[in-house]
């Protein structure tokens, strides 16, 4: 039996932290000014990684954020702005970037549809091609794409969001499949009940308390680490096992 003091010591956070290893040193966070991006920058810089965070309009937020982070300007909608990100080579990538568009498929304007998929799918693929080619030079790289549990069970108005995320997951899985022989791996994380960013709008009575950005950042740190590399070219759902709840209550909150 453990005495009370010993048990308390064991339960302290520092005792429970996983020891994660990272062979590389540089990580790029796409969408770095998001809640999870800021938390991930703090987590990863705290683990000794050199963090580069992309921003579109919130450079000040990254600079003011915790941890030593280098902000890099990136407009995913304009490939001409990719030069800042492409100037470096990275060992790790965390991809959180995604533009917002909630609309019924049949009600969207043609130009908006074109912009949305060009930004989120086509331009991102062009960027991933560059990043992965640089990883090839070192035969090492790990990419984590933050997707959404909405892919498992989309709601009305999420057609563009879900279909673009699905296409991007396909690209990431394929990169993992094609490049694993050269030491580069990928994983997609389908989150739900995340108390940060756009996820806040969809918090409906989870079984457990919603995941905080800091908790999500801790998970990202694991999925980025060398020990997780065998989890490759696949998608993992992190949703407290709640799709059944969502199915049961479908339509009630809409």
């Amino acid at each position: 039996m453990l005495d009370g003091e010993r048990r308390n010591n064991l339960c302290q956070r520092e005792d429970l932290e996983m020891s994660l290893k990272y062979k590389g040193e540089k990580v790029l966070i796409l969408g770095g000014s998001s809640d999870i991006g800021l938390a991930a920058a703090k987590e990863l810089s705290g683990r000794g990684l050199k963090v580069f965070s992309s921003y579109y309009s919130n450079k000040a937020k990254i600079k003011a954020g915790p941890g030593k982070v280098k902000p890099v300007y990136l407009d995913l909608g304009d490939v001409r702005t990719f030069s800042g990100v492409k100037a470096e080579s990275y060992d790790y990538l965390v991809d959180l970037a995604h533009t917002d568009r909630e609309s019924l498929v049949s009600s969207a304007a043609d130009g908006e549809i074109d912009d949305y998929f060009r930004t989120n799918v086509i331009n991102r693929t062009i960027l991933l091609k560059e990043i992965s080619r640089k990883m090839l030079l070192r035969r090492s790289g790990r990419m984590v794409y933050v997707s959404s549990a909405a892919l498992n069970l989309p709601s009305e108005g999420q057609g563009f969001y879900v279909s673009s995320k699905s296409a991007v997951e396909g690209i990431y899985r394929q990169l993992g499949l094609e490049l694993v022989k050269k030491g580069i791996t990928t994983v997609c994380l389908r989150y739900s009940f995340l108390d940060g960013g756009r996820g806040k709008r969809f918090l409906q009575k989870p079984y457990l308390p919603p995941l905080t950005p800091e908790e999500a950042a801790g998970q990202l740190a694991y999925f980025l680490s060398d020990g997780s590399r065998s989890i490759n070219a696949t998608s993992i759902t992190i949703d407290q096992g709640v799709p059944s709840y969502k199915r049961k209550n479908r339509g009630r909150s809409q």
Partner: protein, 114 residues
């Protein structure tokens, strides 16, 4: 010079003895390079020779779609004199890409950059 640099890349990418690589070596038939190896090769060529290599042209991809000596010459202008005839004769034997084709592509790109 170009060949020697290429041999170093082949050694790293395919883990082979560079002494076994010559200009007449077939990249796919003899060295068993796979698609992913060619991609890695292209990335190293880009980096070390500072050229923006077009993988499709450098690796003579879609050769059958451009078959015929005149079309080959037009599509792959870097090839050395008479190589298009040799390629046409050699097509049935499998992938025709030789180390010399890569040397010529790199030299051609470097010359165009000047």
């Amino acid at each position: 010079m170009t060949l020697e640099k290429l041999k170093v890349i082949f050694e790293e990418v395919l883990d082979i003895d560079p002494a076994t690589v010559g200009e007449e070596t077939y990249v796919i038939r003899d060295l068993n390079a796979e698609s992913i190896d060619l991609l890695e090769l292209a990335v190293h060529v880009n980096e070390r020779f500072r050229i923006a290599a077009d993988d499709q042209v450098m690796f003579l991809r879609q050769l059958r779609a451009h078959s015929g000596e005149a079309r080959i010459r037009s599509r792959y202008p870097h090839l050395r004199e008479g190589r298009e005839k040799e390629i046409m004769r050699d097509l049935e034997g499998g992938p025709v890409l030789k180390v010399s084709d890569l040397v010529d592509y790199i030299d051609h790109s470097l010359a165009a950059r000047l």
